[in-house]
């Protein structure tokens, strides 16, 4: 069995074994399975054929699953997919470890659902076929709903219902547009084919107004998952109510399915539509950056605060994609990884606090550096990574996304390569980052520094059975994440270089379209604009 198949089938096998094994064994089986999957993913990375090639590179023989409809089960990666799969493979064992003491009842079900979630995420990242991608994309919904609804907080049922309905709403639009595209292809070529590359190549030839509709529907599908401003209302509740492990995967990889889907399918399949709708998306994104930051400012619940900050961070990530240049695209993918690491780590840290104090309320917690210095160190580090301190990983992605947006207009376009955004968008988005620094520092100030405040000061304390500060298991969970944050912050070159070919390939149709739009605006546009640009030339 090839390494690629191992990453998908082994978790499923583990889920089946866990369901019939003694309750005490469940977590160990899950840990072993996720460890093997991580090893298999590393094996894929080491054995990756050609880092300089942006194409999908096959990892398995295609299994002709439904030849009547041209659906085949074949796995393959380009560097972006591989990086996302690796992110998931790294986070999963840490989540399992992080659930060891937190999950006390119905352990078998918990770890079995986790393994199913693992398999479907891996399938989504490895798929080269639209339908198998959709199978993985959609099936993540089911384990996550049960993780939230069974092991979540007090409002878990409402959170799970809202999550299910919102995400299903998005994915059903995604399915509808993929099937519509498949039917169009059948009409013109006479054969069913759901191969992603073939579908994208076909869709790019569709007329511009058709692409507008296609991007609207595909984008709507992914926008719920990201989530984009106004479709985001499921996220704070789901994040807040989910158990720690669920929150980590939700923020770490599930949201990335949305941005990954935009990168992999929506943008390349309907470039004309993407360019036409880019201003709308960008405005929604910068609204989200500012809005999420303002909400974070007034949050008392630290987990909700991190959840809202995710909305802002991912909005910036999407903004980078809509810059339609290599800087923005690379920055966006890099940001996906960094957000997964640092936000995932923050949720793990908050989970550790919650296990000890049974509260996430910042008014009741404070000065924890005195009680838990090791925890405070890690929490501070990940917060700084999240707010984009240079030297840590968050900075690189944020900076590239903003810079990509900044240069994406006719005047400052690099290499005669204009975009449709520009400095105005970048400025507003950057203001959101200043706000982000403020609320995150306020959070740090309340939680870590200042006088020590613990909930049992007011006579309410349930012993957790855990040591006051982090134990070795917990340190073992956070250390790899801290190392990765530091490494990706200090030496981003290698990863960025390997992402470049895939990003270039995704962006291939855009320069011509954007250029044509600018030319059309220049020739048909009002005289004022022409005069304006000529004076600008003269000044230069």
């Amino acid at each position: 069995m090839s390494a690629a198949w191992t990453t998908i089938l082994l978790p499923l096998l583990a889920a089946a074994v866990i369901a019939f094994s003694p309750s005490k064994m469940a977590k160990w089986i899950a840990l072993a399975a996720t460890g093997v999957v991580l090893a298999a993913t590393l094996r894929l990375v080491v054995g990756f054929h050609d880092w300089g090639n942006g194409d999908f590179q096959s990892e398995s023989e295609a299994i002709r699953f439904l030849p009547e409809f041209g659906i085949s089960l074949s796995l393959g990666y380009d560097s972006v997919a591989l990086v996302m799969a690796l992110l998931n493979a790294v986070l999963m064992p840490l989540c399992v470890l992080g659930s060891f003491s937190a999950i006390k009842d119905r352990q078998r079900e918990y770890y079995a659902w986790f393994m199913v979630l693992h398999a479907s995420l891996m399938l989504a990242f490895a798929s080269r076929d639209a339908i198998t991608f959709y199978v993985g994309y959609e099936f993540t919904l089911v384990p996550m709903v049960f993780l939230i609804a069974i092991w979540g907080g007090p409002e878990r049922r409402a959170a799970a219902t809202k999550y299910f309905l919102f995400t299903f709403f998005g994915s059903i639009f995604l399915l509808g547009s993929l099937l519509w595209l498949g039917a169009q292809m059948r009409e013109s070529t006479g054969a069913w084919n759901f191969d992603l590359d073939a579908m994208i190549a076909f869709a790019q030839k569709l007329p511009a107004d058709t692409q507008w509709w296609l991007f609207l529907c595909l984008g709507l599908g992914f926008a719920v998952k990201v989530p984009i401003f106004q479709l985001h209302t499921w996220l704070p509740l789901a994040h807040d109510q989910a158990p720690t492990g669920g929150s980590v995967i939700l923020a770490g990889t599930l949201l990335k399915l949305g941005t990954y889907g935009l990168f992999r399918i929506a943008l390349p399949a309907a470039p004309e539509g993407a360019v036409a709708l880019a201003p709308l998306w960008a405005i929604l994104c910068i609204c989200a950056v500012v809005y999420a930051s303002l909400i974070c400012w007034v949050q008392r619940d630290v987990k909700r605060l991190v959840a809202y900050s995710s909305i802002g961070h991912l909005a910036l990530c999407v903004l980078g994609l809509f810059a339609f240049n290599i800087i923005g695209a690379e920055g966006s993918v890099y940001y996906m990884v960094n957000h997964g690491l640092s936000t995932g780590a923050m949720f793990l840290c908050i989970g550790m606090i919650y296990e000890r104090y049974h509260t996430k309320d910042m008014e009741r917690l404070g000065g924890l550096a005195k009680r838990m210095p090791v925890w405070a160190f890690f929490f501070g580090l990940f917060t700084f990574a999240s707010l984009g301190l240079p030297g840590l990983n968050g900075f690189v992605g944020e900076f590239l996304c903003l810079m990509g947006t900044f240069v994406a207009d006719a005047k400052s376009g690099v290499d005669n390569y204009p975009g449709v955004l520009g400095p105005n968008y970048a400025f507003i988005a950057a203001s959101g980052l200043v706000l982000a620094a403020m609320y995150l520092l306020i959070m740090l100030g309340k939680m870590i520094w200042g006088p020590l405040r613990e909930p049992h000061d007011d006579g309410h304390h349930e012993p957790s059975g855990l040591s006051p500060d982090l134990n070795w298991r917990e340190i073992g969970i956070l250390t790899p994440l801290a190392v990765l944050c530091l490494w990706l912050g200090l030496a981003p070159g290698f990863v960025l270089e390997s992402l470049e070919p895939a990003c270039t390939r995704m962006l291939a149709p855009f320069p011509a379209i954007v250029q044509a739009q600018h030319d059309a605006a220049a020739t048909q546009g009002d005289a004022v604009a022409v005069a304006d640009s000529t004076t600008a030339e003269a000044v230069r």
Binding site: P67, V145, F146, A149, R157, A160, L175, L179
Partner: protein, 528 residues
Amino acid sequence: MTIAAPITLASTMADRVGLLWPELLLLAAAMVVALMGLSKDRTIRGAVGPVSILAVLASGLLALFTGGADAAAAAGVPFPALAQWLKPMVALIAAGLMAVQGGFVDQALEAAIGRNAAAFNPLRAIRGEFHAFALFSIAGVMLLTTATDLIWIFLALELVSLPTYVMVAIGRGDRPGLEAAVKYFFLGAMATAIMLMGFALLYGATGSLQLDLIQNAFGAQAATGGIALLGVGGLMLASVGLFFKITAVPMHFYAPDVYEGAPLPVTAFLSFIPKVAGFVGLILVLGTAGLTAGELPRPIIALLWMAAILTMSLGNMGALLQRSMKRTMAYSSIAHSGYMLVALAAGTTDALDALLFYLFAYGVTTVATFGGLAVIQRAGGDADRFEDLAGLRRTHPWATAMIVLGALSFTGIPPLLGFFGKFWILTSAFEAGQIALCVFLVVNSLVSARYYLRFMATPVVAEPDSNATPTERNPSLAPVLASVAFGLALLVLPCFTGSIFGWVQRATDPAMGAAASAPAAAQSADSR
């Protein structure tokens, strides 16, 4: 060419009976089962259920071997090979539905006899009749699949319906059951009258009751300026009459009341067997007017279109408001008919294949879900409220898992079988250019997710209310076994969808009858 003569000979009634082995087996089994139910011996009475299941499975196997001959006999009608897919498929799912009925008929009586609290009284026992009626109904569907004229369609449909009226009435014998049965019977009779009026108009318009001759007559009319108004009216009335069987708007009103009044296993039966019959009837009748060639008269297309949209939407919205599980399932079954009507309105061979596959996926999911729901009951009735499912995972883990799988498949979550049903209907409708219908289908799937989520979440997440009277365990293992078998099929069959699709495609191939009839004709020529 003298081939025409042997074919006519082969399709005389006496020869035709020789092709109906599956139906004959079912009718014989019905007689046997009815007698067994009156036996004084408890083990023989207990064998009624297993014998009926075996009979249904055996008739399905027989159908696998006689299907080709049926196609030969039906050569000339729109879809001669329909039975090759439908008979085995219906038999398989009907066997599951029979298993879901395990441990429910005569339960109190048998328990009393077991405690020596009562003597066996043949007048009070209904197990034999009940199973016999179910077998009659299944035989009716099988007969319908090989129908070649309107009279045959009518008789077969009545054979499907009449036993189900009785099943609703005697299943529990209480007031709601009787009320449901009376309502079902009178409204059913009215629908049949509408359908017969349509058949009469068809006869007037074409001068024949035989499907192949009607098809020819319509073909001739279409070539010279369109199907006559009389024929269009006939098709329309016949369709509306058949809408009753598939619970489509505007003939859906009875479904919630009847499904709620009937005992749970009968509800499962009602939501599949009459539905298949109704759709087969629609396919046969509309097939005469060019269903898959996209040549249906405009008013008929408009009718199907409106019915599809209204049926999906009203079904799903109605289901959202229910507190009874059986009523929810009734509305859900209405909604699924709407999805299948989308395929009918799309009017291509692909869409027809999609419909036939969807019926199968819907049937498997129905058995898995209802089998899981049938593991609990209350004294003298069903456990019918969503709250009754709370805590089910502790007492019945397997049933819980199957209810979850069934609800996921009904919702259309990949990679379960229900997803592929929706997948095929959507692709074929998109291909036929029915984008509006597809949008309605997609939005309706979203609405349906809301109430299917209750089926998923309640047994897994909710804890039982300590004040509520606890539910009882169904003494029979048959429902849960059927549920597990069909639930696992939801997971496993998607791996074989390729071959199932191929099977369905062969069944709607108009050339199949001709191809199958050639060797049959040669054979009969040899024997001469």
